[in-house]
Each structure stands twice: as structure tokens, then as C-alpha cells.
Symmetry: C2
Subunit: 458 residues, 2 copies
Amino acid sequence: MDRVLSYLEANHDQALEGLKDFLRIPSVSTHPHHKTDVLHCAEYLANELRRIGMKRVDVVPTAGHPIVYAEWLEAPGQPTVLMYGHYDVQPAEPFDLWESDPFDPTIRDGNLFARGSTDDKGQVWLHVKALEAHLEQHGRLPVNVKMLIEGEEEVASAHLDEYIEKHKEDLTADVVMISDTTMYDYERPAIGYGLRGLVYMEIQIEGPNKDLHSGGYGGSVANPLNILSDIIAEMIDSDGRITIPGFYDDIVPLTDTERAAFTALAFSEDEYAERLGVAELKGEKGYSTLERIWARPTLDVNGLLGGFTGEGSKTVIASKGMAKVSMRLVPNQDPEVIAQAFEVYVEKLAPSSVKINILRHGTGKPILTPRDHPAVKAADQAITQGFGISPVYIREGGSIPVVATFQERLGLPTVLMGFGLPDCDAHAPNEKFNLKNFYRGIISAAWFYQEYSKDSEA
Amino acid sequence: MDRVLSYLEANHDQALEGLKDFLRIPSVSTHPHHKTDVLHCAEYLANELRRIGMKRVDVVPTAGHPIVYAEWLEAPGQPTVLMYGHYDVQPAEPFDLWESDPFDPTIRDGNLFARGSTDDKGQVWLHVKALEAHLEQHGRLPVNVKMLIEGEEEVASAHLDEYIEKHKEDLTADVVMISDTTMYDYERPAIGYGLRGLVYMEIQIEGPNKDLHSGGYGGSVANPLNILSDIIAEMIDSDGRITIPGFYDDIVPLTDTERAAFTALAFSEDEYAERLGVAELKGEKGYSTLERIWARPTLDVNGLLGGFTGEGSKTVIASKGMAKVSMRLVPNQDPEVIAQAFEVYVEKLAPSSVKINILRHGTGKPILTPRDHPAVKAADQAITQGFGISPVYIREGGSIPVVATFQERLGLPTVLMGFGLPDCDAHAPNEKFNLKNFYRGIISAAWFYQEYSKDSEA
């Protein structure tokens, strides 16, 4: 690694200038008039990957924007990393809030300001530079690497599933590496190893066969909106526990190690409550806020609608109402099992005076990459080398659709090694990437590919 | 009464022809292009009242359509009836669903088809004809009569309150008589003596200061829509009783006489449920459906809104939500007391993790005219004479705003003596008035003014 590190040290400026050129291409995937820019950006990246010595570099057309695929598979017996990222960016509007041109990268106060600097071009580029150093100095990589850099992440990865389905064989690997997230805070780099899953349902309720006057009929017939409220209220008890039978059965409890690790993060619940503008936090009894967000399931109403919702009053008993209700899941809850349990429970809670119809709007499995997975260990070592400090381990309350996709379609675990900062303004004006973290990120990535090789493990 | 009845018998055709002329004038109050027709209709009615011998007949302009006022006050020592009705009608659209022109009254199968035939021109006209018979045969009326026939009932009596406030002195009376409702069913004429009151509230709830991602935040912060459901659910217990402290304190219990009278109506709960398309009825434990509608208070959600309500899914924890909640009241619940109790209770139910704002959208007092009120007794005798059968006593679940107005502004009880039928299609195409009931109504009205005089009571 000495030669790799020396190379990186000597090529700071080259790395930065290459990133700047990458950022100058306005690869805004959502705007049709940037279609050529997006293609140009894919080609720029592909050329760079060819230049550094990656093999079989393809710009693969899709019905939308192309996917850049590259591989280097000449390390027999070594594990294979599927490195995922994206070269498309969010729109830069509103332009007038930018202090410098979003597509003319500018350095101020140690930060590189440009659309895509953190999300995700900068974080893709640091892997490119890490791989370049290995290839340049040793003519080879310590492990096998496949790169899948898409151009539609900011438009819901519209054609990624189709691509993965079609190229399943080509995408076999041992682990997915993604640098598209942030550090825990300014001081603490992080490894993300868990994401919650999702079951998103809609309860449609129907009572009388038409809207009724609440004077002439009120009191004599079940009001669907009152019943809907009853059903929702019944689903969470006074301890914040979800009452769906069997809901918690398959959950892998938090380990003492994890709880201790979360506690060590010294998360400020007061600051959190203040930022959200609430007088107090509220959640499942017996768990801290981080535990509630990262490692405990939820049931949230996402939408409610029924009856008269305009200004003023209308004395109506609505015939129909609806609630969108989603549940976040944690390992090893199975979305299919939970969705069924939800359906059975809602039917049971509903009195026979109403009719219930339940829709499923989507499910996603919870993700948990074991903390002792070799790739997690490699990332830990790598970050420790790159930053001079051990990473913290974090889970995320939300899902990252591609992670679920890799899990579900390819059976691959993912390691999230992100170098952004919480205030990087990824989707906002004045997006920036801290330059120190860019260089530390390159070093960390270079170490990751080294540490993940079986030679290092030995 | 013999001469009065003979006169009515001899003048069937004249009564019908006069009503037809009244119905030919398209006094649609909601359509500006009918403004002249509405005025013309008021003048037609006023001229008829002058012709039959009513004194001081005025067509009183308002900021909207005029009010027709007439009086005959030459029965010193006798009570005074304030007869209320309206000469305006609902629009007739859609015209193509009418089997005959809505403004060309047509007789088919013993019914007079025309817009306003039952609601309310026909029922106003039968009082005019009853008064005409007394005045024609005796040159006097048995009691004092004031008539207040408005032209804006179908547009929420927009200027009636202002008129009443301005003419409080002129409108003193002992009772209000209204014929603008229906019989209980084909066979049974009815006296309406009770209406429920109303308190209409809106709960606005706010949690976090902006919409949050349900993945990143779900479980850590109170979800306003879940809390809103909790609050609503908490307000009614499993027996269908409203849990607001003090809610039932001031209620005058149903008397055994009333319960027996309701029971005697042999109301079919099965037919009612079938008509509404519900598998079973649901309401307060210990009460029949008629009791629940007519004589017990309610709490109904009239509208619910919050979060994402479009098609599909959005994983949001809404910052805000709202529920419109109305309560029907029965004597002697005080709307002001109930509104306050509601506010205090909602604040108490809401955890400190949300903020609550409560709006009041309107209140109305419940109405109960004592069944032994002399005007009720007179109406009973009158209907018995007119129909050859005693009336049933009914209350209404809704409110009739003018009845509350007369109660609140003039302190007057109201007797509802309606001659429509449940299938008269008052606001629909092919509105009709059964001709037999029209004639029986004239006789009943003639008897009412007779029976209500103190001479009859003796």
C-alpha cells in the first residue's frame, strides 16, 4: 500500500481536476433537455475507467439514461466487489440561491461547491481514483471489482431493475459497496450496515351506500370515519407497541453490542426534538430515539381522507374513507408475512357494519449486513486508515431502494461507506463536498479494496 | 266549523286552480335570472292574502328576495299563531328527468306534479285556503294569525335572521306553525315536536414543524394522524357512549310515553339497514334506532384530512392533520357548554408531543315543544279531523334552522304539521303532492286554527 498511498499523495491535484471536469457536465437526469449532457457524462466516466485500466467498460443504453458498467476480474480466488454509484444529479434550481455556478466547481473554505459534488459524483470519483492508484502502481487490483454506475438514481432508478434482471449473471459478486451516504457527524466517519424494510398499505372503508345527512342518520349507523379512527388507534397501544398479532415474532433483538454502540454516539434527543419543533418525543417504550429509528419497527399513518374537507362545515356522514398506513420493518420481519397479518387484523378490528378493502402499495425487505462480514471489517480497517479514527456503525430508518434491489434480486449484502457530511446540501443549492473528506475518502477506498482481499485477511 | 267545511268542500277546484297558478311561477331563489319571477310570486301570494281578507299584507324587500308578511289580529284574548312557510323553490334541473314540465302543474295518479308542489308552495297554499274558508264564512279567524312566508328558504334563509331581528316586536306570538315536512308514512300523519341541536367543531393538529420522511423519522416522533385517530377513537366507548366528561349531564331522559310511542311506530330496522346497504346497524347501547336518531346525542366525524391522499404511496409523516367533528344535541344540552367540554377534553387527550387548535363552525340549540302544549293538542285534534286518524308524534334527527331561529330569537316553540310524503321528491325531479293529502291538509289546517282558540279548549 505504500506505493498506492504515495501515488495518491502525488496526484491530489489530478484527482481534483478530474472531478471538476466530471462535475462540469450537467447530468441532470430529470430534465429531457439535458439528455445529451447525461450521455456525455456517462462517456466521460467510461473513458476515465478505460484510461485507468478497467476492463470491458460499457456504456449500456437503457430506455432512459445509460448505465456505465466496468469490471476488472483478474484476481482469481479473491472476492468480488460490486461497486454501485450514480453519475446523474438533482436539478440545480433555484439557480439564484447558488453562490457560484452549480456546474462550475468552485472551492471555498475547504469545500468544493457544485451540484453532484457529494451526491454522488464526488463519491464515485474517489473510488475511481483509489482503483487508479492500485492499477497504476501494481498493474492489478487486490480483489475483483465490478462497477455499476447508473444515470437515473435521481429519477427513481427507473430502468435499473430491468438491467439487473437482464444481467444477473454478469453481476454475481460477494458484496455491494456504496459510497452515497454521509458520515455520522463532522468528526465521525460511519459504516452503514442496516436499513429498515417497508410495507405500505391502504385501508379503504365503506359504510352506508351513499353519503348521509348527519342529522337525519347520525347515531343510527356506523360512521366509516369514526370506525377508521378506531381501527388505527387500536393498532398501537399506550406503550407505543404495535398490536398486530405476531408483528414482533421474527425480530432479531438488538444485541448488547449494538445498543452500547448506539448509546456511545451520544445522540442528543433534546436537540432533535427542538429541530423538529416538538415539545417532546414519542415512541416505543423501552427504546432510545436512535433505537426507535434504526432498529425498531413502526406503524405510521401516511394519509387520511374522508368526508367534507373544505372550509367551514358540512353535516355529512361519509360513505367512504381511506387511510394510507405504512410499517417500517426490521430484520427478520418478512414483508409478506406482515402484510398478511395486517390484513387479517384490520378485518378483525372492523365491525360488520362496514366493508373493508385493503390495497398493498409496496413492500421492501429490511436489510442487515452482519457486522462481522469480511467487507464490513475491511471497511472498518479502511476508514480507520483513511481518517485516523475508527468508524461508528449506523443503521438507517429509511430504505435505499437499490440496496433492497441488490438484496432481493442478487442476494447481495451491502456496505455503506459514505463520506458526505450531514450539511452537504445534497439536493439543495450550494451542494458541497469537504475536500479533506474527499482525499480521506480516496485513501479509505484504496484501503478497502486492499483489506478486502483474502491476502489481507490472513 | 260546518260552514267552513262546506265551503272547503265546495271550493276544491278553486283551491287547486289557485295552487296551480302559484306553482306556474318559477320562483327559483338560487338562480339570479329568476329574480323577477321570485318577486312576481311574492306578489301573487300577497294579492291572494289580501283577497281572502288578511290585513296589512306586505311584500317586504330584503337584500335578497322579498318576505311576504300578513296578519289578522282581531281576536283579542285569543292566542297568536306565527305561520311560517316559503314560496321559493329548488331549481328544477335536470329538466330532462321530469315527466312533465316542472312549472306546468300536471295531475297523474292522484298526484300533482310540479316543482314546489310539496316544498313548500302546496303546504303554504293549504293554510291560505283554510284561512280563506274561516274569513269567508265568518268574517273572522278563531285566533290571531301572523304569516311569514319567505323567498329564500332554499338559499339558507340568507336574510331571514336580519328581518326577524328588525321586526321582533311585530313577530310576537304564542307558537310557530310550520307545514314543510312529511307524514311518517303513507298511512300516518305526524306531528313533529323535537329537533336535535348541533355543535360543529374542527380539530387541527400539528406535530413536527414540517412533513417528515417516515423512514428517517418514523418511530421517533408522534405522528399527528395517528394521534388524531387516537383522540377520535377515545371519544366514543365500546357501548357507543360519548366519553366527553359531563356530556350527558343535562339531558332530559326520554319519557316512557315517548319510548312507547316510538315503539308503536313499528319502525323496521332491517329495512332501514337494507336501504343504507349496511350489514348491521350500530349505535348507542340500550336504545332503538328511532331513539338514537331522534332523542339521543351523537358524535360524528364529518371530515378527515392529512398527509398524502393521492393514488399510490408517499412515505410521509404529515406535519398537520384535521378532523371535522360534529355533535347532535338533545334537550337540554347547551351547545356552548358542550363545545367547551369538547375543547377541554380534546386538549386533555392530546399528548404534549402535538399542538391542538380547535375551531367552532356553528352551534344550534336542540328543540323540544312539550307534547302537552295547547298548539300541539290543537294540531292533534285537527289532524284527527282531517285524516280520520290520530297523528303519530315524531322528532327529527336533524335541525330545521328556522325552527332554531324562532326558538333562539323570539323564544317561540314550533309545531311541525307536515303533509308531504316520504317519496314526494322534494328536491328531485318529478316532485309531487298527493292531492288527497292536499285536501286533508286544508281541512286539518282549518281545524287547527279553530281548535287552538281558547273557546275550543273550554
